[in-house]
């Protein structure tokens, strides 16, 4: 009798069941059919676990003890939102998954259109991953952002995603369409009440038109107890310059999944980030970068500092389709492990079906270089301070590569704060 045992539903899955049934019972619910489809896709897989290859290092089924109740609509005080730390910007606030106009910029901005939606989208990705399916079944709200063709938007567009309350969950989706030739910087922050335990699941699709120049900074500064899951689907046209940067600091468990499609020739995609992990944090960055056409360049450079018993997971796959000749793809993962119990699982992969390409991947892991440390201490800098200088240096190389001056200062200030190194260096 070798019939496979049916996997028992976890407590979290049972809670999700109840939530979905209650949601769909509301007569006013929009897009019920699409939600049901998404729910079925989720149910077929369940919460991802270690036997699902893509989730092997992040066993969500074990880690997610319960699914918190769907967060209610609410409007927190504006001053709890951090966003881009005071940088002058055009603000779009999303609270508990829903667009919050009260907390958003209310004047018009040339070339930008923001519309609230119910969050249900038609996306090929929806059935690809259980957590995207779940997002689409339970999504509480969404927005659509359009940047007009050739719009040069000077102010950064700030998307502040705030989860209000503890023991709640929020599901949001966002569609971003950037017109050809546009030039724009997004700064998106994920945050919540300090120390609150909550779950956030965001799904964002970004379509970038030909010759656009887009910088996108994600600040993951959720509560240290939160669970954060974000999926990005990115489609790039021709001759696009798309630069994405993740600053990963919050959450007890976080996962960023990026599905990137390079669909037009001559495009450059830079995917970068730094993760600063301590205590028992677990942070996962998983990438799929698909080169479908010739002559594109992609860079996947991530740096991670892991302290205490924290664990970083990096999975990156670059796929080069047969047509994608002259592809240049470089992936590099560098990690500093500051304690013996800290851990990094790095899995860079290349799948190349074209013959005239330049692709490479690599990963380095180590402690702080003793020779560098000695050089600094021999000049009179105490060891603890010297270590911080070297960690900062390690991270700042990644920050500089993002090549967005408005973000460099912000990121360096955040990094220094994390290191408790505010007073340390003078420019």
């Amino acid at each position: 009798m070798n019939a496979p045992a049916k996997i028992q539903e976890t407590k979290a899955e049972q809670s999700l069941d109840a939530q979905f049934n209650a949601l769909i019972a509301e007569k006013t619910q929009t897009n019920a059919n699409q939600r049901k489809q998404a729910w079925d896709a989720f149910k077929a897989k369940g919460i991802p676990h270690r036997r699902v290859e893509e989730w092997h290092y992040t066993d969500l089924r074990t880690k997610m003890r319960d699914a918190f109740a769907l967060a209610p609509t609410c409007v927190p005080k504006a001053d709890v939102l951090q966003g881009a730390g005071g940088l002058e910007s055009y603000r779009i606030a999303i609270v508990n998954g829903r667009f919050a106009p009260e907390l958003s910029s209310n004047q018009e901005l040339d070339g930008l259109t923001v519309t609230a939606t119910d969050g249900v989208v038609s996306s090929e990705l929806a059935s690809k991953d259980a957590m995207i399916s779940l997002n689409q079944a339970l999504v509480q709200g969404g927005i659509s952002i359009e940047v007009a063709a050739n719009a040069k938007i000077e102010k950064p567009i700030e998307i502040v995603r705030y989860t209000d309350g503890a023991d709640v969950s929020s599901y949001a989706s966002t569609c971003v369409e950037i017109g050809a030739g546009a030039n724009v910087l997004f700064i998106e922050s994920f945050e919540g009440e300090n120390g609150a335990d909550y779950q956030s699941n965001a799904f964002t699709e970004i379509k970038v038109g030909d010759e656009a120049d887009v910088h996108w900074l994600k600040l993951q500064v959720e509560s240290q107890k939160a669970q954060h899951i974000e999926t990005l689907g990115i489609e790039l046209g021709a001759k696009v310059n798309f630069q994405h940067f993740i600053y990963n600091e919050g959450s007890s468990l976080s996962r960023a999944q990026l599905f990137v499609e390079l669909k037009g020739e001559g495009t450059h995609a830079g995917l970068r980030g730094i993760s600063l992990l301590q205590d028992q944090q677990h942070a996962d960055i998983t990438l799929y970068v698909n080169h479908a056409v010739p002559e594109c360049e992609s860079r996947e450079y991530y740096r991670t500092v892991v302290d205490d018993k924290a664990r970083a997971v990096f999975q990156g796959k670059i796929i080069v389709e047969p047509a994608a000749q002259k592809t240049d793809g470089q992936m590099m993962i560098k990690s500093l492990l500051l304690s013996d119990a800290a851990e990094i699982n790095a899995k860079p992969e290349l799948e190349i079906f074209a013959d005239d390409v330049q692709c490479a991947h690599g990963s380095t892991t180590g402690d702080i270089d003793e020779d560098l440390l000695f050089y600094l201490t021999a000049r009179g800098i105490p060891e603890a301070q010297a270590r911080k200088i070297l960690i900062l240096a390690f991270l700042s190389e990644a920050v500089e590569e993002f090549e967005e001056e408005r973000c460099v200062e912000l990121l360096e200030a955040m990094t220094r704060k994390w290191l408790h190194a505010d007073e340390m260096v003078s420019e």
Binding site: F374, T377, A378, R379, I389, L390, S426
Partner: protein, 250 residues
């Protein structure tokens, strides 16, 4: 005054220094010469307080203070400066930021006020000019992309900014052409003063034409085997180290 007595030291269990006795008084320049592998660089690291260099016997005292339990940064604040044979490149650390951080760390350790930014900038401008260290070099990350000569000039610039009282120059002449050697030597000579001691470690005599020592020691197999005046360096240049190496082997 630096006093080294019967100093034995090892790295990873390898005994390298085997009983060094040396006294360097304020204002004196001592040259330490010797064949490869004689322990010259080890002596410089042991003096600077590098972690994995363990003193197994003997003492180092400076101005009457025992250095054996002092860490590298404490020794630096007490006046120690090591000019590295191979100055390390540190990407991501701006040269100016590093210089100011080091200077202020030492001042703080000595209970002095931190230097203000305008005063610091003025100081760096003055000192860097003499050493032909360009503003462009100062804008780069520490030592990154510097040529051999630029790295050595940057070391001497650090030395002149930090104003140590005990300078150890580890093969500062290596990798320098004649012009660069002259610039670096002039920089060092300007720092000669009655209250500053220097130990110049070198394999070749040519550096000592520029930085003229008061005393020359020959180091071989972890011991000082001969001490003399500056003429000893010329003798070594002529006859090589064979005499000392053989003597030890015999």
């Amino acid at each position: 005054m630096l006093e080294i007595k019967n100093l034995h030291a090892e790295v990873d269990g390898n005994k390298i220094l085997r009983g060094i006795d040396l006294v360097v008084r304020p204002g004196e320049i001592h040259a330490i010469m010797g064949p490869n592998g004689s322990g010259k660089s080890t002596l410089s690291y042991v003096l600077a307080g590098k972690d994995d260099y363990e003193i197994t016997e003997g003492t180092i005292t400076y101005n009457g203070v025992d250095w054996s339990e002092m860490s590298a940064h404490e020794r630096a604040a007490a006046g120690m400066f090591l000019a590295f044979q191979y100055p390390i490149e540190i990407p991501g650390v701006a040269t100016m930021t590093f210089l100011k951080t080091a200077l202020n760390a030492q001042r703080k350790a000595r209970g002095e006020d931190e230097i203000s930014t305008p005063d610091f900038m003025k100081l760096v401008r003055e000192k860097s000019k003499a050493l032909n260290v360009t503003p462009e070099m100062l804008r780069r990350p520490l030592n990154v992309g510097f040529s051999g000569g630029e790295k050595k000039r940057a070391e001497i610039l650090q030395m002149s900014l930090l104003e140590p009282t005990l300078c150890v120059l580890d093969e500062t002449d290596s990798g320098l052409d004649i012009d660069a050697l002259r610039v670096v030597s002039e920089g060092v000579n300007q720092l000669r003063s009655p209250d500053r001691s220097m130990i110049v470690i070198t394999h070749y005599q040519r550096l000592l034409d520029h930085i003229v020592p008061d005393v020359v020691h020959v180091l071989s197999k972890g011991k000082i085997v001969k001490t003399g005046g500056k003429e000893l360096a010329l003798e070594l240049e002529k006859n090589g180290y064979a005499e000392y190496v053989d003597e030890e082997a015999a």
